[in-house]
Symmetry: D3
Subunit: 135 residues, 6 copies
């Protein structure tokens, strides 16, 4: 089901870039980094090398920054007042997603369920993004 949503989103995107006057945006950028966070969590769960855990923490911190950055760019540069009116949840949704990206280190550290929550929120952003492209 996720794959389906993703696929329909992509088609619209590709056609959308052609007539876009204001740049190229894609929630996939945030998602790829968030998937990386989840993959790191998984690998840390399977490892008991403390040096690996440290290195994973460093890389995960960078990935979290990138998730936040990509979502912030969507929030500031792509979404416009009419979008926020039509989707009243949008401000909170992106705010919570960026908080989760940052939190994926703090609480529960390498807890995969935080990454899952983050991915779910990014998927909801992607759905809204796809809606705004249709209009």
């Amino acid at each position: 089901m996720f794959a389906t949503a993703l696929r329909s989103l992509r088609i619209i995107e590709v056609s959308a870039h052609c007539d876009l006057p204001c740049g190229v945006y894609d929630p996939a950028q945030a998602r790829i980094e968030a998937e990386s966070i989840k993959a790191i969590d998984k690998k840390v769960a399977d490892s008991d090398d403390p040096d690996f855990r440290v290195r994973a923490a460093i890389i995960k911190e960078q990935r979290s920054e990138l998730v936040k950055h990509h979502l912030w760019v969507l929030w500031t540069d792509y979404f416009k007042p009419p979008h926020f009116e039509k989707f009243p949840e949008l401000h909170s949704l992106i705010n919570e997603a960026t908080k989760l990206a940052g939190a994926s280190g703090t609480k529960g550290s390498f807890d995969e369920s935080v990454a899952d929550e983050l991915l779910a929120k990014i998927d909801r952003v992607a759905e809204i993004f796809a809606e705004t492209k249709k209009a």
Copy 2:
């Protein structure tokens, strides 16, 4: 006189940080960069050297990125759900401020009035920030 203001600001900040569980935040960071944007606009208005104009554009672009970054960090890391409830304008306010930071290059390029609008929004964020510290 500056030194006095600085010192009193510091004392309040330091006491505020003591009971803070989540780090050190300060809207002054965004404001300093926004003042830099305004100063660049002023200097470009007074110059007719095209190379200077290009260099100003490069530096202004970096300053804009920093304004956006500092505001994004406040929005994601400092402000919490109760703040957004108490100040319903907060999401839009920060969103518009970051849009202005980005726009200060696009429309009107070196138009100081855009920098003034940006500074006014940052000052409103700083007021709300100060309110939340009192609580």
Copy 3:
């Protein structure tokens, strides 16, 4: 036709992340930035504001760096010796793509055809990437 290739690539990717021991990679990251370069070229062609042209050059320079970075990461971190053996063109292909990303500023500056060449090379990288995922 491109949309089809893209779509099949995506499906494999999503399933691939699950069993991936070594991280999350996606040629889409390079493509999104390259599309941005092409969009910038288009907008510059439609504008005669010299300040806009300067700003476009600054942003395009950053996008070019990102295209190069995403391709370099694929080349170094994702592709392994067996891939280079199976696809003898792969070294040159990615090398030429990164050269085009850099060159998209130097020669022809805002010439869209350079961006098109770059996009074609990234699409070929994506096809090979999809092939390696199937194996």
Copy 4:
């Protein structure tokens, strides 16, 4: 009370920038990051989660880089030969402050007293900075 101090600080700053030919500088930028280092030290002292300690080290390393950067910019871009003549301690002062920023990781790692020394040096830089503004 905070809002008042903030507002009076602003007014002086703004007037100071008006006659400045070379941009906007503020030792507060270094101080905010240094306070963050001290806050991190405090939080690490109160925690016994090893993952938290690693994450704190990563963030502290970034904050240290920012302290150094802000001080270097003041040293290179703001302070001029007459300042170094009038305040013969200035070179050493900033050099020692940046060394402390870097050292706050090496020796004593999460030792708050290093952060305190750093803050004291930054405050002395701010005093000299304020002196040069009066002239």
Copy 5:
């Protein structure tokens, strides 16, 4: 003696740049960062402070990124098709060097022998680079 070597190196470099249409490149940039990695490995081997080990991992990760970046720039911006023809090993050599730079964290973590392998590959790149300068 160091000064002499440095000076003779400089002269050759400077003369090389004069007829260069495409900028200034130097494999020494990658080497300096790789030596830093080796030095970090050495210091970690001599220390049993866990905080120091974490800090070393953070800095080493940055150094690794820089090694990769400097090699990527040589590969994309300096080396041209005739070079790849004349030195058929060049693609693999740089690819392996960048893989080693990245791997110097993953496998064996602070294992100096990985840094030695990396340095040997960078020296071979430098030899080829010197060959191309002679032509």
Copy 6:
């Protein structure tokens, strides 16, 4: 001949690093970036393409930042109080060099003589650096 100079430089460097407790430093890093600035100035003088001039300004700005950064790192991390005592010019020398790196954009923009002054100062830093290695 280049290879020989390179190799002898390397040997000295390597031996120098062995007794270094604090990392790997090399004034060559600043010099390479400064040579790049000079090369850019030269190429701009030979070109009358305004887009090329803009792109050159962007890249030169980045190079200037790197020159400053490498010199700042030497000043803060490599040089110690005894060095500043033995070479009383050292603070001013590095301060002036970083000022020149920044100024190479402001005054005279693409004026090669500014790059030459910068290179001369970096060479003097390198001489002092070599002196401190002998001790």
